[in-house]
């Protein structure tokens, strides 16, 4: 622990930490757009495709310079996205294959150039390998200043064009309709994403850089449905992962920073996947349980009503009989009986159940709706509105259609026979009126 704090006081560590924090922030923010535009893997291609750009920059400039490397990487990264776009547009190759083609060929060509430089040049080429796997420790003060400047510019531009980026991301045709230069903003966004990728290459490396874009954004997605919150959250998650990864890597010699940052980000993603309030697994599981319980209650009432309807004289039925009619899972049977009698919908006497007046009312509503839906499904094509089970409600039908549905119900002999006392007078009138 003491060593940890000593490391932390080292000015070089502080610089690297500052750099990775800003890096995580900007890649998280721009990654959100990449994710929502379904371009996550294009980030992977951009990162791989940056390698030949870096090598060509080295060949032209003659020595190691992060500034020229970033320029070279950005140009070849941009060319790679353009090529993917052209391949998809002009041939029958699908996007995933196009990404794979560009990624592997550019990277292969990068390796060719790298070995060429290693064989031919006498200069210092050791810095080039860093780009493949990332080497945060090799960052010097001037590198960090350059990376931070670009990050800050990217963040400012995102704030400035937030509205435009939002519209072209969610509804490009609407954006066109209101006269936004969509292509222009598309290109700006792509260039910004390319820049976010290339400034991370020296720290994280070309292979893992894609994760810096994708993982924080997808983690943030589980906490909010609002773009503004998602962007801020993704930025924070990226920065946090960057910081944690850098700090852990300083504690043990030989631990690579890039992979640690990615592992930190992925851990946050896994936590979000489980606990996130939007679509999180735990949330979905609880929802599922609730729905299961509700369905079991409804099933029981439906069965009990059916049994009542079939034998007009007897009102008492054994629990087992009701459970048999519509299968209810053993684990829920006790709950169903308890819950329904607590609500006063059924009365229970040693294993025999019967509907109370209140229960009959509830069951009648359920059965009527259920049977109307059955009938509706049988004659679905005769109705204008096509509804799915979730949305089905009689109130969505027009008056005429409602009458038709009641007529069909009568025709099929599916009209619920047992009408609760409270509704009897009123409902009869309605039926007579309607039929």
């Amino acid at each position: 622990m003491k060593e940890f704090f000593l490391q932390f006081q080292d000015p070089n560590t502080q610089w690297v930490l500052f750099g990775t924090l800003l890096l995580g922030l900007s890649s998280g923010v721009l990654g959100s757009f990449a994710l929502l535009r379904k371009q996550s893997l294009i980030g992977d291609a951009m990162a791989h495709a940056a390698l030949p750009g870096v090598c060509i920059a080295f060949l032209l400039y003659g020595s190691k310079s992060l500034f020229w490397f970033i320029i070279g990487a950005a140009i070849s990264g941009f060319i790679s996205t353009w090529l993917i776009h052209i391949i998809v547009k002009k041939s029958r190759i699908k996007e995933d294959s196009a990404i794979g083609i560009v990624l592997s060929v550019f990277f292969g060509f990068g390796i060719v150039l790298l070995t060429y430089i290693q064989n031919e040049s006498t200069g210092n080429k050791s810095g080039l390998d860093d780009f493949i796997f990332g080497q945060a420790a090799s960052l010097v003060k001037s590198d960090v200043i350059l990376i931070s400047t670009i990050s800050v510019v990217l963040l400012l531009l995102t704030t400035l064009f937030y509205k435009e980026f939002k519209i072209i991301t969610f509804d490009p045709s609407f954006a066109k309709g209101i006269g936004l230069p969509v292509k222009w903003f598309d290109s700006i966004l792509i260039i910004m994403i390319v820049l976010a990728v290339v400034i991370g290459l020296q720290t994280v490396g070309v292979i893992l850089m894609a994760a810096m874009l994708i993982t924080p954004a997808i983690a943030a997605r589980y906490w909010t449905d609002r773009l503004s919150f998602m962007i801020i959250l993704a930025g924070l998650i990226g920065a946090f992962s960057g910081g944690v990864g850098t700090l852990i890597s300083t504690t043990t010699k030989g631990l690579p920073t890039g992979p640690l940052i990615i592992v930190a980000a992925t851990s946050i993603f896994i936590l979000s996947l489980i606990f996130g309030p939007k679509k999180g697994l735990l949330q979905a599981f609880i929802k599922h349980l609730k729905l299961r319980k509700k369905t079991a209650l409804n099933q029981f009432l439906l069965s009990l009503y059916d049994l009542n309807e079939q034998s007009l004289h007897s009102k008492l039925f054994s629990e087992i009989e009701v459970f048999e009619k519509r299968k209810i899972s053993k684990s829920l049977q006790q709950y169903v009986i308890k819950e329904l009698s607590n609500k006063g919908l059924i009365s229970v006497e040693d294993g025999q159940v019967s509907l109370t007046d209140k229960g009959l009312e509830a069951a009648y509503e359920l059965v009527l709706n259920h049977r109307l839906y059955e009938t509706y499904l049988m004659h679905e094509l005769e109705f204008q509105e096509v509804m799915s089970h979730k949305e089905f409600s009689i109130s969505l039908l027009t008056e005429k259609e409602k009458q038709k549905l009641y007529q069909l119900l009568e025709l099929h002999g599916r009209k619920p026979v047992l009408v609760p006392n409270s509704l009897r007078a009123h409902k009869k009138k309605v039926f007579i009126h309607e039929l």
Binding site: S97, G100, I132, F133, I214, G254, P256
Partner: protein, 296 residues
């Protein structure tokens, strides 16, 4: 056999195995899954090394096969849980690769197993790493491993040709016919993992991706029939291996890098000149239509 011949044979075997399974990946729009698997098998190889404490090919094949399958499973799991499938791929393989790199740098310091090697491969050393049985030198290990995987791939493809074909072009119909689509999916993924890891050691992960996707995509531009696509993709893979090898020795650069570049050049040629789906072919067809419209 000469040094050169062994290298060419190894690379051709890689090209053939990858071309075969790659065609199905391209058709099933799962090309990026091969990128994911080729990266994450690193974890399988590292894991196999830690458990078995040896660098024997069999353990590597098993380890990589397991991690390859895990990758597809995780990707499937995440997409089932509502994660966009491209993002799911990106999250899973980077995570597994990162763990592999961390393990390697923590414990694998002095083993013959470095990340760079795994990624770029060192095909130039293949001919010296030979297999001996009863003291008789029977050729490079990689050639045997790759040959073995190729034979399995070819046999499985012949055996299940119809099933592979239907699930590639019309998975719904395959399901309706009662073909166990999921089983064939995982069978192909196992074939993919095995191919990847067998090629991994000799040519490196990146060339594997290139050999899997690019020749198959090139063949896809040249023909409309699956059987033709399969052999063309194999032939293009082998051709790229030859072009790559000779240009690499000419310029004294990385052999696998040059092979990947060669696949790219062949793809670019097909993209422009393919009579069926190339730019030029389409342009000519359009021109013909225009002439006919003028005439008629």
């Amino acid at each position: 056999m000469s040094y050169e011949a062994w290298i060419l044979l190894t690379a051709s075997l890689v090209g053939a195995s990858c071309g075969l399974i790659g065609s199905f990946l391209v058709l099933r729009k799962m090309a990026m899954l091969s990128d994911a698997i080729s990266h994450s098998v690193l974890l399988g190889i590292v894991g196999a090394y830690f458990i078995s404490q040896s660098l024997s090919g069999v353990y590597m094949l098993i380890g990589a096969g397991i991690v390859g399958l895990l990758t597809t499973l995780f990707v499937q799991l995440l997409s089932d849980k509502g994660v966009q499938s491209d993002a799911a791929i990106g999250v899973v393989f980077t995570f597994l690769f990162a763990i592999g790199v961390i393990l390697l740098s923590l414990y694998g310091g002095n083993v013959h197993l470095d990340v760079e090697h795994a990624l770029m491969g060192e095909i130039a050393f293949i001919p010296w790493d030979t297999l001996e049985i009863n003291g008789v030198d029977i050729g490079p290990k990689s050639v045997w491993m790759l040959g073995f995987v190729l034979v399995i791939n070819v046999l499985l493809t012949i055996l299940f040709y119809k099933e592979f074909k239907i699930s590639a072009f019309d998975p719904e119909m395959a399901l309706a016919l009662g073909i166990p689509v999921t089983f064939f999916h995982y069978l192909q993924m196992t074939m993919l993992s095995l191919t990847t890891v067998a090629s991994f050691d000799s040519v490196g992960a990146i060339l594997v991706v290139a050999m899997l996707i690019v020749p198959a995509a090139t063949a896809y531009l040249l023909t409309d029939r699956l059987i033709h696509m399969l052999w063309m993709s194999i032939a293009i893979g082998v051709l790229s291996a030859f072009i790559g090898y000779y240009s690499a020795s000419l310029f004294n650069v990385s052999i696998s890098g040059a092979m990947a570049t060669a696949t790219g050049i062949l793809f670019a040629l097909a993209f422009i000149f393919s009579p069926l789906h190339g730019l030029l072919g389409k342009w000519l067809a359009q021109k013909n239509v225009r002439m006919e419209v003028k005439k008629g």
